[in-house]
């Protein structure tokens, strides 16, 4: 008797504590149940932490780009766990250091497309009519150009550097964001509380960005996460083609490209950067999947 009382009391206290942010808490609880998603989150956290630590413990001039001719093309050993490249640079250190490029390009590119595509989608979804048609049809036109091709066009036009790379990769996924945001807004905009906000005299801008947008965060967040993965792949592909982060910076895509001519005899030179890309993207996609499932209202009791 006493025991049950204690149990209910503590669970009441717990539910109080989380009631405030029950939506977020609910998502986190569902997310935690998904083993793959938790694995992805762990791996990504490790990658992010190493990229931050690498900043302090690895010296770019001496350890990343300095050529050490006597040690060139060494197979993996205790001294060089991932081997060395044709200039004698340690591949492990280069991969660790290079994680910053992939991560930052991926994240910044997605922020670019989120900002542009998100705003376009929200406006299209809320305003409807001609404005919606203009926005969505121009998105269709853009979406019909393959992302990589579009990015190649932009980088060749504006030059190959990291900033242009970020923007060009971002622009390529603007249509995807616009579509997701528009669809999300359309499910929210007919709610009575939006009508109520209008009846209270809120301006259109205010309704779009402070009333509707916070209620469509779930699909937009999932899309954002998923897109970071594909942005990383697009960015690496561009670097592979020599249109992205220029050498000698250890971008994973350009490392793949450099190792290409040695692939027959020294395959580790391409294998490790390739693995790094695969693992990072996989981790991000696992997180995205987990988020999507966690936010799916159908899974809620």
């Amino acid at each position: 008797m006493d025991k049950t009382n204690v149990v209910t009391k503590s669970s009441v206290a717990a539910s109080r504590k989380y009631k405030k942010n029950s939506q977020l808490y609910e998502i986190w609880r569902n997310f935690r149940k998904n083993k793959g998603a938790v694995l992805g989150l762990t791996v990504l956290s490790i990658i992010i932490i190493t990229s931050i630590i690498a900043n302090f413990v690895i010296d770019y001039e001496t350890q990343i780009i300095r050529q050490v001719v006597p040690e060139r093309l060494q197979r993996p050993s205790w001294k060089h766990p991932f081997g060395t490249d044709q200039y004698g640079r340690d591949i492990l250190l280069r991969i660790l250091y290079g994680s910053r490029y992939s991560l930052s390009v991926g994240i910044v590119a997605v922020m670019v497309s989120l900002a542009i595509g998100g705003v376009m989608g929200v406006i299209a979804g809320y305003m409807g009519g001609i404005i919606e048609n203009i926005i969505m049809r121009s998105c269709d036109v853009f979406a019909s150009i393959p992302a990589l091709l579009l990015a190649i066009c932009i980088t060749t036009a504006f030059g190959a550097n990291t900033l242009i790379l970020m923007i060009s990769v971002g622009v390529a996924s603007v249509p995807a964001f616009a579509r997701v945001a528009r669809a999300a807004v359309m499910t929210v905009r007919d709610n009575e509380y939006i009508e109520a906000a209008r009846a209270a005299g809120a301006t259109r801008m205010r309704i779009m960005f402070t009333h509707i947008l916070p209620n469509c965060m779930a699909p937009i967040m999932v899309q954002t996460t998923m897109r970071v993965g594909s942005a990383i792949i697009t960015a690496s592909s561009l670097s592979f083609l020599g249109l992205g982060v220029p050498p000698p910076a250890p971008e994973w895509g350009s490392m793949l490209s450099e190792g290409r001519s040695f692939i027959r005899d020294y395959s580790y030179m391409t294998m490790f950067p390739g693995l790094a890309i695969v693992i990072t993207v996989l981790a991000i996609n696992l997180i995205g999947d987990g988020l999507r499932d966690a936010m799916d209202p159908k899974l809620k009791r």
């Binding site: 009631k19 405030k20 029950s22 939506q23 009519g129 709610n191 009575e192 509380y193 009508e195 109520a196 906000a197 209008r198 009846a199 209270a200 005299g201 809120a202 301006t203 259109r204 205010r206 009333h211 916070p214 209620n215």
Partner: protein, 333 residues
Amino acid sequence: MKDNDLIINIENLIVHYETEEGTVRAVNGIDLKMKKKRSIGLVGETGAGKTTTALAMLRLIPDPPGVIKNGVIVLNGENILDKSVKEMENIRGKDISMIFQDPMTALNPVFTVGEQIAESIMLHEDVSKKEAYERAKELLEMVGISGNRANEYPHQFSGGMRQRAIIAIALACQPKVLIADEPTTALDVTIQAQVLELINDLMEKHETALLMITHDLGVVAEVCDEVAVMYAGRIVEKGSLEDVFNRTKHPYTEGLFNSLPNIKDRKAKLKPIPGLMPDPTNLPIGCAFSPRCPYANDICREQKPVPRWISSTHMVECSAYDDPSFHIARREK
């Protein structure tokens, strides 16, 4: 009644929804006057055009497909149908506000109740966030909710509390006109009575004019001074509470009363009005009620009835009264 008490004057309002299947004639020429501290009950079956009328007063008719075809809505001596979008945003919430039907969905789930009340203050008054929040707490107290629950989210409130919070939002800037679109249909009976009483009290206190939209004649009897009965986009009978309840003239109003259970005579059979409302895309040539009306004659079916003033307050729109000896079965009380 002095004319300077007149707050809103609607004349010959016509609203259509132009859909692909045809033109829905939702509101077909309505005249309505609202006065300070007076409450009007707008009653009628589903689809009669009540909500459309209310939304027209706020210029919130979904467009497309809705179009205000004709009419004037005069507020403070100015026709609001001529106002710009910007001017309308100032009018909404400040001069006219609206309480929506379903309290479960009329609050934004991602903001606290206090924030939402404060927002409606900040939209119209130049106050700091903190002041607005303090005012929000006071408003909550006014509608009978403890002020320190302002930092809770809508899902932590019960249905009745949410409707109270919505009333607090609607009254935050002390509007001149309050439109309540079936404010109590989603609530249980005891809460319903409390909310109605609250609306009544606040209306008195703030000198608001109230338009109470409902299909519940009991609610009308409890809250309203005047009644307007709406059928297929027209007001078919209008008058003071006594006029309409005790000196009923229109056959449709009679039908509404007959379909209510009578406590005094429980053996009497309920007599629901036969048939359905006509399709608003294809209204009859004559009186819209004639296909269902037990008294209908050929004139009713062929000619649109015109408003007929029985007394200075009581209007009925029914051609049958062309015959001076005509009367409906329901007796005067």
